[in-house]
């Protein structure tokens, strides 16, 4: 399982960590629904901690991530903006 933290790089996370990552993902979704910046920040922080505990990928590895996670400073609006991004091929990913 390859996970990218935006602005930080990629890590290889062991499959057994997935269970708790899933739970944290639910908590993030919950925080978004409730508009709770603090809950978002704390669940993101825990999530990132787990990912960083994995094995960092070498800089020259050309591997696609299974998951992409915003970094800890992301705000509710930023995460929402990610999710509302309508791909126009020019925004997030330069060709």
């Amino acid at each position: 399982m390859i996970v990218r933290i935006l602005g930080e790089g990629q890590w290889r996370v062991a499959p057994e960590a997935m269970q708790s990552l899933n739970e944290l993902d639910d908590r993030v979704a919950d925080a978004l629904r409730k508009d709770d910046q603090e809950a978002l920040q704390s669940s993101l922080a825990l999530l990132l901690e787990q990912v960083r505990a994995g094995e960092p990928l070498a800089d020259d590895d050309l591997v696609e991530s299974d998951l992409i996670i915003p970094d800890s400073s992301a705000s509710l609006d930023e995460v929402r903006a990610f999710l509302e991004e309508q791909g126009n091929g020019e925004g997030l990913i330069p060709g």
Binding site: E8, L62, L67, I68, L83
Partner: protein, 270 residues
């Protein structure tokens, strides 16, 4: 995991796929993408330079504010020595305002430093990936027919696209931060240029500033005189003055007076 992060990943991927659909021959896609990667690398380096410039400006301003704070401390001390507690209080009030600004600046500085480090790291990562991509690109072009190459191209392409998306975001973010800082820095520049803090009673401020300056210059003249006298009489001038006692509260605040003549005081440029 099919929640938030799955969706974000899908967004990244969808965009990468869109970009892939552009070229007729997949091998052209490789060259096109490589060009875009080099462009982005340029952009990241510019971003690093911009953030560094902004950071240095904040550093410069902080040292200017520091000098201003020192000056006000001296002014307060001299005012006290001459029994002008009202002036001393005013100088200290301004000093505390400047110290708040200084605190803000330090926070900004830390932020900028963080962005700068992130961008430098991103630049290193992207460079390594671009090099890897170039190697793979040449291999693919030399070894495979267009049809066969498609799968391998997709693999190489999706890996680098994601990195580019990520780095692109980081650059965007750093740019936003830098612009925000520049605006605030401009405000502080003005503050430093006027040599005074925002004060609701503007006219009164001019008088105070003039009085403080006068005190300072009088004291400086006295100091120099004393030093000269000492020189002439072959003594060594005292290096330090006795420290003034700490201010005690309870004195009446200075009352505002109407300005006789607004004095455009161009001081405070340290």
């Amino acid at each position: 995991m099919a929640g938030i992060f799955q969706r974000i990943s899908t967004i990244f991927r969808a965009k990468a796929d869109k970009a892939l659909d552009r070229a007729e021959d997949p091998r052209e896609t490789l060259d096109y993408s490589y060009q875009r990667q080099l462009d982005l690398l340029q952009k990241v380096r510019r971003g690093v330079a911009d953030v560094a410039t902004s950071r240095k400006r904040v550093e410069l301003q902080a040292s200017q504010l520091n000098a201003e704070v020192d000056k006000l401390t001296t002014q307060a001390q001299r005012a006290l020595e001459q029994g002008r507690e009202d002036l001393a209080r005013e100088a200290l009030t301004r000093k505390s305002g400047l110290q708040q600004q200084l605190g803000d600046l330090q926070a900004q500085h830390a932020q900028l430093q963080g962005e700068e480090e992130k961008l430098v790291r991103a630049s290193t990562r992207l460079q390594a990936k671009v090099d890897a991509f170039r190697t793979r690109k040449e291999t693919i072009k030399a070894t495979y027919s267009a049809a066969e190459a498609q799968t391998r191209i997709n693999e190489a392409f999706s890996g680098i696209s994601e990195e580019m998306g990520d780095v692109g975001l980081a650059v965007q973010r750093a740019e936003d931060k830098t612009q925000e800082m520049q605006a605030r820095a401009g405000a502080i520049d003005e503050l430093l240029a006027s040599g005074t803090l925002d004060d609701p009673s503007g006219t009164y401020k001019d008088d105070i500033t003039r009085e403080l300056d006068q005190l300072a210059s009088t004291s400086q003249v006295e100091d120099e005189l004393a030093a000269l006298r000492a020189k002439v009489s072959g003594e060594i001038a005292p290096a330090t003055k006795p420290v003034a006692p700490a201010i005690e509260g309870g004195a009446a605040a200075p009352k505002a007076q109407p300005a006789q003549q607004p004095v455009a005081d161009e001081e405070g440029q340290s």
